[in-house]
């Protein structure tokens, strides 16, 4: 385990990690969902979390913006640092944390409001726009960054739920971007989309990583190989192996990783 981590650090050593997880355990009641996971998230890179269903990758992702707080029986121990600060520290304001670390969910979940209101909601509650014009430019810019503006520019007042599945997911990305976070967590964002919509979002992630750090949970190994620079393989609540994506897929160290990427477990 230890020497593998060294390889990772070597391959990505030119970039300082924006987030680090150390010895993270997650429990649902008495059941342990994540045991002793340590992982660095390098800045302005895409990190993919892969693994079979129920391996805990989504649970681990939700630790990064403390979305697990909303589940009563969930308990997180260990240390997760964001820019050197422990996010589970009692002094940390969860609301402020989540404005720095945005999230895109598995199923597109636009608010049942207009497209404009969907994107404007975040900046509004965080007071990011002083005037109406400011707000409008934030909304337009966010929609442009999410590659959605050209498709919806003439119907910003229509409900967000009237868009197609792929557009809705990009609307959710625009909504997350509008708050100007540093990290965007994506929980299987393409699992409900067709290949064309998936390709659009993958292209989008490629351009987004210049400005944001992205952590993506995905079921599709092809997707992980296509978009990510770092890959972490989870199995049964453990982090089996993590490192440079190319290395993981071509030359995995652990046998379990080898078995998973060749389709023998999963």
């Amino acid at each position: 385990m230890i020497n593998k981590t060294e390889i990772t650090q070597e391959a990505l050593s030119n970039l300082p990690p924006i987030m680090t997880a150390n010895n993270v355990d997650v429990f649902y009641g008495k059941k342990q969902a994540i045991s002793n996971v340590s992982l660095d998230i390098p800045e302005n890179q895409i990190t993919a979390l892969i693994g079979p269903s129920g391996c805990g990758k989504s649970t681990f992702l939700r630790c990064f913006n403390r979305m697990n707080d909303t589940i009563n029986i969930c308990r997180v121990s260990g240390e997760i640092k964001f820019s050197g600060q422990d996010i589970y520290d009692s002094k940390v304001d969860v609301v402020a944390l989540r404005s720095r670390i945005g999230m895109v969910f598995q199923k597109a979940n636009p608010f049942p409001k207009s497209i404009f209101e969907n994107v404007a909601y975040g900046p509004r509650i965080h007071g990011l726009a002083e005037t109406k014009d400011d707000l409008e430019s934030i909304v337009i810019q966010s929609l442009k960054r999410a590659g959605l503006y050209d498709e919806v520019s003439d119907r910003l007042s229509e409900p967000g739920t009237s868009l197609s599945g792929g557009q809705q997911q990009r609307l959710c990305i625009a909504r997350a971007i509008a708050v100007d976070p540093q990290v965007i967590l994506m929980d299987e964002p393409c699992s409900a989309l067709d290949p064309i919509a998936t390709a659009i979002i993958e292209d989008l992630m490629e351009t987004m990583k210049e400005k944001y750090t992205i952590v993506i949970v995905t079921h599709s190994m092809q997707q992980a190989a296509r978009v990510s620079q770092q890959t972490a393989f989870f199995h049964l609540g453990e982090l089996v192996e993590s490192g440079d994506t190319q290395a993981i897929f071509t030359n995995p160290i652990q046998e379990r990783t080898q078995n998973y990427i060749s389709g023998r477990i999963g």
């Binding site: 989540r98 404005s99 979940n109 975040g122 509650i125 909504r175």
Partner: protein, 425 residues
Amino acid sequence: MPDYILSTSNRMAKRHAREKRFKWYGRIAIFISIAFLVFMFSAIIFRGASAFQQTKIALDINFSEAIIDPTSSRDPELLKRANYKPIVLQSLSNVIPGITERRDRNRVYKLLSAGAVFDLGEQVAEEPNILGKSKKVWLLASSEVDLFMKGKIDPNISEDLRRLKDRDIKWIEILKSQGRIKKKFNTTLFSSGDSREPEMAGILGAAIGSFFSLLVCFLIAFPLGILTAVYLEEYAKKNFLTNFIEVNINNLAAVPSIVFGLLGLSIFLNFFNLPRSTPLVGGIVLALMTLPTIIIASRSILRSIPQSIRDAALGLGASKTQTTFHHVVPLAMPGMLTGTILGMARALGETAPLLMIGMVAFIVDIPKGITDVATSLPVQIFLWADSPEKGFVERTSAAIIVLLAFLILMNLCAVYLRKRLERRW
């Protein structure tokens, strides 16, 4: 391949028959329910429709100043209480010939309602200029005359069995031949409070009492119910205490309403000394009764709002309260309002708890606020149904029609609100 595979076998025939049978059971059940409903409504409307009309008698009244206002004071109070009986009697004997004896005069005077002279007084007090002039006025007929005009008294049965005697009927026929007796729209029913005389009794007092009670009920039950539901559903941790509270709320919804009345009597009246027989106490009691309904309905609506909406807002960095009040509650509001209005509709029809807190009194005045003594529509129906006068029979049904109209109106309001709020994106 056997040749019956696509044709009807015995087994298939049985299955089809069962399906058909079941469809018919459903249809029969619906038919029976509708038949009961139609029967109930037609009975009420058949009995109550006639109450929307009222018999009036036209007389040429000579507003003699010497009799009404001998001192020429023009004081409205005096004008109201002046003695109009001789004037009315004079007009009556002008129209009906042969009224000479005192006994006859008193008898013919009974054709009119006891309230007729009060109406005259009101009229004169309102426009004193009428004094000294003569004018044709439509006066309220007595309940017996009214019933006769509506065909509810059979003149062929023995005279001893009816209060309207042959002589009275003869006079009515005379008035009829002159076009001086007519059925007109019953404004009294909608403009006055209760009365011992059926022809003078109205439901306005009861309706306003109901309105004030419901207002108090809404102002208490709606915010309390919504806030309780939101707290229990969105904030409270699931533990023994919240489970205990939940079980008790469900139990409260099943408590008979008269128990709430007893509670109101012992706590609000006897302990807190709130004014008896008032919409204030009635409203509080109805609010207690409606609360569990609102809470249960609101909680089930909140539970049906998808978790993904909460996740979306929380993920953006909205606080718990922002998530709840910007997204969850607005989405749940139509359902909450529907639950509230349906609970209020139940409260509007509630009688038992109001009996316990004394809203069952005979109240003539129309309440002006929540601390005035009042009664309510269903209690008024109960009171009239209990009255021995025959004229109250049709008025009871009329009051039921009005109550049902209000209930339908409230339900339509619920539908309208739900539709309107649902479209607001």
